[in-house]
């Protein structure tokens, strides 16, 4: 039976925001997975005879480079497709990492209260008082460039928001009778947290994660714009924007195309996040009504 899949999973698929956002994201995922097959060129392959070519539909464009080339004669389309890999990886991992750290600390602080809660709260407040980009930059300088380190630094910057929001949920659940009821059956705190508290914060966590996707994508592109993200041999949209800046007066395409890709992606993930939040909220409202 399908009964182990909660009903809200199905209602996710009926939401228009999710269909639009999720559909675009699915395309991106396919592009990233099949990049070697889809890309006409190697992203780092330089063709110095064809520098700053316009896209194929413009005068002087070539069908060999559908979206033209940049100042080094690299295929813009191929670089965009390979750049999608970075975007997808970041979009899938950073929210999960931030959710894990944030929710664990939220549950410890919110459930036990007292000194651990005080400490976690102060750390969260300190964290949130830093501008996120500055903090990520400092971390990247300490960690050295590379995909793993980008993920780590985004996670380390964004867990605090998860922690702050989820802790409020934990405080509410902690006061529920079923938590007291679990205590008087002799359950240990770890057991209560796993069986009674954690399932209750999942809906909020899911909507936070959906919102985190677009935040993480933008954060990564900012880091690669300043050259502090994945290495120079990996193509990323932020890096393409930064490269395109120098030649923007001779040809705007190497700058515009990654920017458009970026905007569409962030828009799509925002739609996705919005949709997920609506569906989850609706389910929360329904559940409280029945409760």
């Amino acid at each position: 039976m399908m009964s182990f899949i909660p009903a809200w999973v199905f209602s996710l698929l009926r939401d228009n925001n999710i269909r639009i956002g999720g559909g675009f994201f699915l395309l991106l995922l396919i592009a990233a997975l099949f990049a070697p097959e889809l890309a006409p060129h190697d992203p780092n392959e330089q063709d110095l005879f064809n520098v700053l070519l316009p896209p194929m539909w413009e005068a002087g464009g070539s069908a060999d480079f559908p979206l033209g080339t940049d100042a080094l004669g690299q295929c813009v389309l191929s670089r965009l497709i390979y750049g999608a890999q970075v975007v997808v990886i970041i979009a899938l991992t950073a929210p999960v990492g931030a959710a894990i750290i944030g929710s664990i600390l939220a549950m410890i602080g919110g459930y036990f209260g007292g000194r651990s809660d005080w400490l976690i709260n102060r750390v969260v407040e300190t964290w949130l008082s830093f501008p996120a980009v500055v903090l990520a930059l400092i971390l990247m300088i300490a960690l050295s460039p590379g995909l793993h380190n980008v993920i780590i630094s985004i996670v380390l910057v964004d867990w605090a928001r998860f922690c702050k929001v989820l802790r409020a949920d934990v405080l509410v659940i902690r006061r529920r009778d079923y938590v007291a009821a679990a205590r008087i059956t002799g359950a240990r705190p770890a057991g209560i947290i796993i069986r009674d508290v954690f399932p209750g914060i999942i809906p909020t966590m899911i909507s936070l994660m959906a919102l985190e996707i677009s935040i993480a994508i933008v954060a990564e592109s900012i880091l690669s714009f300043v050259g502090m993200s994945v290495g120079p041999d990996v193509s990323s949209w932020g890096g393409m924007i930064s490269d395109g800046l120098s030649s923007m007066y001779s040809s705007p395409y190497p700058l515009l195309l990654p920017m458009i890709a970026m905007i569409l992606t962030v828009l799509a993930t925002t739609f996705l996040g919005q949709g997920v939040r609506q569906v989850v909220d609706l389910h929360l409202a329904e559940r409280t009504r029945e409760a």
């Binding site: 009778d177 079923y178 009821a181 008087i184 059956t185 002799g186 057991g191 069986r195 029945e290 409760a291």
Partner: protein
Amino acid sequence: MGNTMAVADMEAVVFPRVEEDVLLKAEGLNLDVSIGGKTCRVLRDISFTLPRGKTLGLVGESGAGKSMLGRIISRQIPAGFSVSSGSLMFDGEDLLQASARQHRDWLGKRIAFIPQEPMTALNPVLTIGQQFTEHMLRFGVPAAECEARIIQALEEVLLPEPAALLSKYAFQLSGGMCQRVMIAMAFASEPDLVISDEATTALDVSTQAQVVRLLRDLQARKGTSVIFVTHDMGLATHACDEVTVLYAGEMMETAPARNIFQHASHPYTRALRDATPRLKGSVIPLKTLEGQMPGVESFADIPGCRFASRCDYAAASCNAGVPERVSVSHGHSVRCARYAELETLTAEQHSSSGTHQPGHAFSARSVLQASGISKVYPAANRRQKDKLALAAMDFTIAPGEFIGIVGESGSGKSTLGRMLMGLEDLTSGSIDINGKTLGNDEASWQRRISLVQMIFQDARSALNPRRKVGQLLTQVMDSRPHQRLERNMRMKELARDVGLAEQSVQRYPAQLSGGQRQRVNIGRSLCDLPQILIADEIVSGLDVSVQAQIMNLLLELRREHKVALVLISHDLSVVRYLCSRVLVMKNGEVIESGETEKVLSDPQHPYTRQLIAAVPPTDPDAVWPGASFTDKEAGVL
């Protein structure tokens, strides 16, 4: 409208055919919903007449469809439901046919509602004055006159200092005061019809009595008709002129309010009566009504009487077709094919009912002894005072003893229960179990939870909605090594013990009815066979028939397992039925205690007397002193 003819004949039965001014008249009203391709008749053949200035009570258990009528009138029926036939005449015009504009015009002006939860019905970010003004402007009171009219309206509901009230917010008022504001708003437009949907259910007994009295007063003065929806038959006999008992969307019995209890003719009305504990007279064992009301989705499969499956007197003929409504006497009609035979049948049954004993102690030795326990909540900041939740008190309980703790909300009775359980720290005093003092260490806690268990008030919030019933029943075993087989056996045993079907262990709490959930809640606390159960208002949210089942279950558990019970309740008749000893609490202090019968028949403290008087008596001829105001009380509230 095929059955209009039959209904027209019935009409004379519902209200005496005196030349009365009829305000609301329903004829053969049917409400349908289609579920899974089947059309289910949610409300079947609802017909009544409500004269001007009278009150019609709709009584029934949850799921009987009593709120649906109000929803039909306000056009708020849920999606998928539709009125398929019948008419609903409001002052000569059909409410169902009226244009949306006309209908909107009537609502709030000629038809007003009093909601169940006054606190949530008022907007928390607007002051009472703002909300009231908005309401007044809507039905055309000039802005300049609003304030004076509002103050006058608030005075009519006996709220003290109405002018000061205007700038207050809902959360600054008590539940009773909010409900008075709602009543004042409902009556402000001098409506012809007021619909009160369980308006007093959320209130304390003594507040309830005053609110009902107020409603009656205003109604008499303004000649308003009221539809009074309630699940409390005792209340209905005193608050209404005429009472209709609903079961599964069908009008089972209609009678003048004074007769409905004493001369109940329908087996269901009788069952309700026999399941309601009394505050006066001899205590007889409550007869429980087995099973539960059929759900809407199964209505289509019941060809005959919807009560037949639970009826003691059901015969084959009952399932053959829908019984007609028959007139019993003047103004009294019943929908039962066999009501005439019932008189002889019940006489036999009544003689066989035995005597009832509440939970007396099995021995003089005490299991739990609390001495000098008190609870003070420290102030949040220096400007506030420490809040005393419970003044120092002693408490003992013996094996098998059922002790009732009564008092209004905020009296400290729940705090006492949580302290005995160990969910609240003691500010002072100590608790001994079987002669050994409990400390704060882990061993003491383990000993405590193996001997004392608590049943929480609201089974919905006390059961984790994401775990199966079987897991919840044996939740104690979560934290200790066990074999799956052993656990499965124990969950089935427990399910049987509390009267649940064995298959139900595979279900989730949301798939159970309220009564079944409460059984799971009780079953869980029995897993380790504790000696003391602490039950916090466990029957207050339940329908009478379920309440009777749970109460008899508790007495049975006492016989079988020798458990003692601390019953925290605001319902004195429940306490009388179960408990041999009672403690009356007010403002964190025990003001009276002793044997239940003695305290109830001869209360010493004025507050106890007031509490007892506030309960609507089941005898229709008895005056309800709690519902009458003294000037002093009116000033205090």
